[in-house]
Amino acid sequence: MEQNSLREWEAKCIQEEPPRCKAACPLHVDGREFCKQIAAGQVDKAWAVLCRTLPFPAVTARICDAPCKNSCLREKVGGGIEMADLERFCAENTKRTPPFRPLPPRGKTVAVLGGFLPGLTAAWDLAKKGFTVTLFLKNTYEAFETLPQEWLTVDIFKHEIEVIKKMGVTFVENSTFDDTLDEESLKNFDAVFADPIACSPENLKISTPSLTTLETEKKGLFAASQPEKNASPITLIAIGRKGALSIERFMQNASLSAGRERDEPFETKLFTNISKVEPLAPIAVPKNGYTADSAKEEAARCLLCECMECVKNCVYLENFKEYPKIFARQIYNNASIVMGTRRANKLINSCMLCDLCTEICPESFSMKNLCIEARKDLVEQGVMPQSAHEFALRDMEFADSEACAINRHQNGFEQSEWAFFPGCQLPASDPDAVKNSYSFLCDTLTGGTGLMLRCCSAPADWSGIVDLFDKKSTELRSDWESLGKPKIIAACPSCMETLHKAIPEAEITSLWSLLCLYRKNLNPVLPKSIPALQDPCSARHNEKLLADVRILLTDLGLEFTEPELSGLHTECCGFGGLLSDANEPLSQKVAEHRASKLDGDGITYCAMCRDLLAKTGKRCLNILDIIFPSENTDPAARTAPRYSTRRENRVRLKEQMLENVWKTPSTPRPAYEAIKVSYTEEAQKHMEERRILVSDIKKTIEAVQKTGKVLENTDTGHKLIYHRPVTVTYWVEYEMVDGDTYLIHRVWSHRMKILGGSK
């Protein structure tokens, strides 16, 4: 990823935009953090939040009139947070004020002419920044008279003046503000700030100063036009702050105006979803101000505005504990590592590429695109972790191999107007459903319906191996062309998506749209209870498919419910993006999460959705279960076939189709398949968890039968063998039973190679 493209990604996620209160506050006080601390009963910490931003906070917190209140998002659901009263409560009740430590002296001097709120603020801010400030004023307490006195006492004011003095500001009283003072000051100081209440532009004999920088035509003099009579105290303070910032830039020879769009109150880009927030009115302010309890209660109304829309709706994002702006940086850093550990590999490979985030994000941030690009990048650099997708890629190759693949015209036809493409997972999950669907299509459609049994190549696409996907696309195209470019009928929404990419010129229809079209010919067996519809994530943008499935179900007389996130906003089952290969525990978590969102039994039209949900113990139907019912009286209870069974299902499907439909013998099975094996329950569980296939075990036995390299346990009589067909070493612990059967007790594997082992 290029540095500037990182910037673009980062800028797209607005989670770090300030909340409305902070944006609307002329001083940009972090109202969110402040409320958070008050609500937690942390008055001193809340006070520290104010002290970070407010000049002479003991005064400012008591005179603030909270212009932020109208902008507060709470305003739309009950009423804005009573920020002013909370600030006062905090000032009255804090036990500890953090010390104000000015930066080391910079050797630059500033004169401030006038000690009203703007002047005092400029003096405070500049002193804090290490400038040597001299404050000329008539009388130190004259500012006090101009302030709202309801909550303020002269003692508090005096105390804050002492703090300013302690910060190194020299007070020169009895100054007169004639037009010589500024000329004089400009000679004696490096810069001058004129408090607009003490000295108007007319007094200073200047034209109106610039609004954004307070710059005047006299170099080094910063001033403002006279504020309105009843200007809000916070606005006056903001004038002083603006002047101080301009003076600092002036001294540094920096641009006075660049990047200051957000000095003034501004509109934040932060989005916060309040659709589920209950209205809650402000807690009335008691006569003497909030008590600890009522302050807490009021502060607790703060929505702690943030976006996090995507994170709240994606188990994967939530699992990695940050939000896309941070992830973008982590992924960028990951890509730039030459030596060292790439810490974001798991992050990159665990996204389900389901694209829900893009739909949900107010700025359409696509974590999917970010992750798929990052995967391609890892592959290109040659550093994609081998273990991440290997199993899925091998499974794809198996589905495309001679053992499983078919590419034929309908029996008795020389051409195919249509071709049924059930994908690799439906044959693995429910081969009968494939047979039934195919024979329905052959009976219903005219012009010949060929059969294409193979994988759509989604694993190649999802794993980011561009070359492999290109190669697979070429294969797919030539299969399709050899059938005379038929219209493809895909059973799986992921296949539809991937085939569109692989053979863009092919016309692709979903099995579901065809079933919908011919729904009058169907004789469904309806389930007894009302199921909830699970839309696969790959159907998200397929409006026709989403609609046809609903029409189909409704017209078949099936009542169903929909989870809150459905259709365009549906959630992935945990299979997408090869998550279950890269991060099995997370995939399980996702599946459990989704299952919990479906009321009653689930019903879906994706074989993987069904199986992943079923694996969590969720009862779940494939729509085909009701359209082409089998003998099974409770199809929702069908368990998900194991990995080995899935392969076996594909192989047997091919054999049976060839035999029953085309009356052709299929290729003989490999010799090792004849080896007789049985399994303990534990071994079977391990095989599934560790993705060790029956074929891996049989190949291991076959290999060792030739070499005789066997370990034996003298206590149990068990034998132990190992074999490394390609990139994984398999270990098989067995016992011979009934003379010729290998009873498998345990199996495990590792990727490391034994170099100096048996000689």
Binding site: T341, R690, L711, E712, T714, W748, K753, I754, L755, G756
Partner: protein
Amino acid sequence: MSTLKVLDGEDFSSWKCAACGEKLVPKPIELGYLESRFKVELPSCPVCGLVLIPEDLALGKMAEVESLLEDK
């Protein structure tokens, strides 16, 4: 290359090499993954060198090292 000891005190005395009839004894064995090589002490046949990588080791330490090396 120094030899790593990863098997603490586990007893492999019940395992023997079926072909040679020998008990397994701890020996430095060279393992490799991706670009990395290391020597690990593993039970093996003193005659033919047949090695045992126990389940706990394969799924524990070894798997950890594998994923670490993959992310390097």
